[in-house]
Symmetry: C2
Subunit: 291 residues, 2 copies
Amino acid sequence: MINIEEIKLAIDNYLKEYFQDKGTYNKVIYDSISYSLNVGGKRIRPILTVLTYELFNPKEWKKVIPFACAIEMIHTYSLIHDDLPCMDNDDLRRGKPTNHKVFGEAMAVLSGDGLLNEAFNLMTLYALKEGINALKAMQVVGISAGCQGMIGGQVVDILNENKKSTFEELNYIHSKKTGELIKASILAGAILSGASSQEIAILERFGENLGLAFQIKDDILDVEGNALLLGKNTNSDLNNHKYTYISLFGMEKCKAKCVDLTNQCIEDLTSLKYDTSSLLNLTNYLLERNY
Amino acid sequence: MINIEEIKLAIDNYLKEYFQDKGTYNKVIYDSISYSLNVGGKRIRPILTVLTYELFNPKEWKKVIPFACAIEMIHTYSLIHDDLPCMDNDDLRRGKPTNHKVFGEAMAVLSGDGLLNEAFNLMTLYALKEGINALKAMQVVGISAGCQGMIGGQVVDILNENKKSTFEELNYIHSKKTGELIKASILAGAILSGASSQEIAILERFGENLGLAFQIKDDILDVEGNALLLGKNTNSDLNNHKYTYISLFGMEKCKAKCVDLTNQCIEDLTSLKYDTSSLLNLTNYLLERNY
């Protein structure tokens, strides 16, 4: 079984080295990007890409690290921009001051822009080396991050502040803002590995359920979690007057939904005729995590 | 000879239709993007891509419109973000209120993000259809827009506000912030058309000189131009305490430099064994323009 810690270390190192010792007059943007990128995320998305790729190509997982890291760059850019004063106005992220608190708003906007741009540069370079499957995976990631995906989710999230969202709006926000990129991380791994369309369809459903479980768990932790462990203030949804699954359905139903979704994930994984033990472990960890 | 107005119309129409009637809950981001995209730019960059492509593939220019429009999306995203209060804090752009003045800061940040993302999505789709040359052109555009290109230029521009820049810093800002994407627009056209490496090298030098001439002309217009024609406030550099070529070398030397660079552009174009009359016209227009 593949060691998830080993993958995480490879991702951390790749991201650290990618922006290290770069720049001349513009050096500060690399400092700013590195600050947010290396502040210690869980690396869930790139790990999902690597684990999915590894299902079909055991022992070859190191090859896919650059592409997986491009997805983490997209995730990190979205956090930097979401934290801005004009968006969620958060001062704390992963236990450290948010990017704009350290580097100022202008540099935070530009660092987010830079990360999104470099993510595509990295995927383009990967596609030039690896060919058509990489281009297809880039398409899936690009759409998931765009106006019909993650950005669209953030748009509706912003529009719904201070108002009671409908279930449909909440579903839209969750599936787009968090779910799409998580699903795309899994799909990218499958596409890069050359999985069949049937296998991709199963992994797509797995990704959808995992993304939703992940978001509901985040909402649960925002209420019940430990701020110190989380590295950010709790009850931020409540304080930002954001409606969540918790406010709509109550805590107990949300916990049950989380377990139910996780079980559906496990069912889909076990239907694949490969060694899915690492993905199963990660799925269970995401349900049980306390940060 | 190809009709530049016809190209501009095709670009305007493509960009208008691309984001039309899209979105559900997230519809406002398409309204916001469309507002900035359709407010009436000169479309210099995509026109350069089309004209360069057309040099080597006469009568086939319509094919390259989507790729050219992706470059205009990148240009427009950079304007939206540059105008933000935390950056240049501009209220007026092309004679209309800037994006954040109409849609608010959060939506302006997200619209810029969305345009950058969709530009790459569009180029990716183009590469899936057209193959390796499109991927190579996307690489050139992506690098020109990134942290070592346009974003890097904006970073140094922000850092140099309220301080006297050195000639080297000013050169860095101009070549990166404006020059890189103009050069890339030309290179993209050449690469997409399958031009030889020798032809690409000549067009690269042409692009570099044209980009610099364009920037110096912009600085001249910022002092001498008509605010009504320009559609933005004049003397913005002075008011933002920005050093420019004008403040460094004086108006007369800058005008002479602009003519000199244009002559170098013309020399390079005429060395190519193709009908460069449209590119020559555009080069002369950029020198003579009053907005």
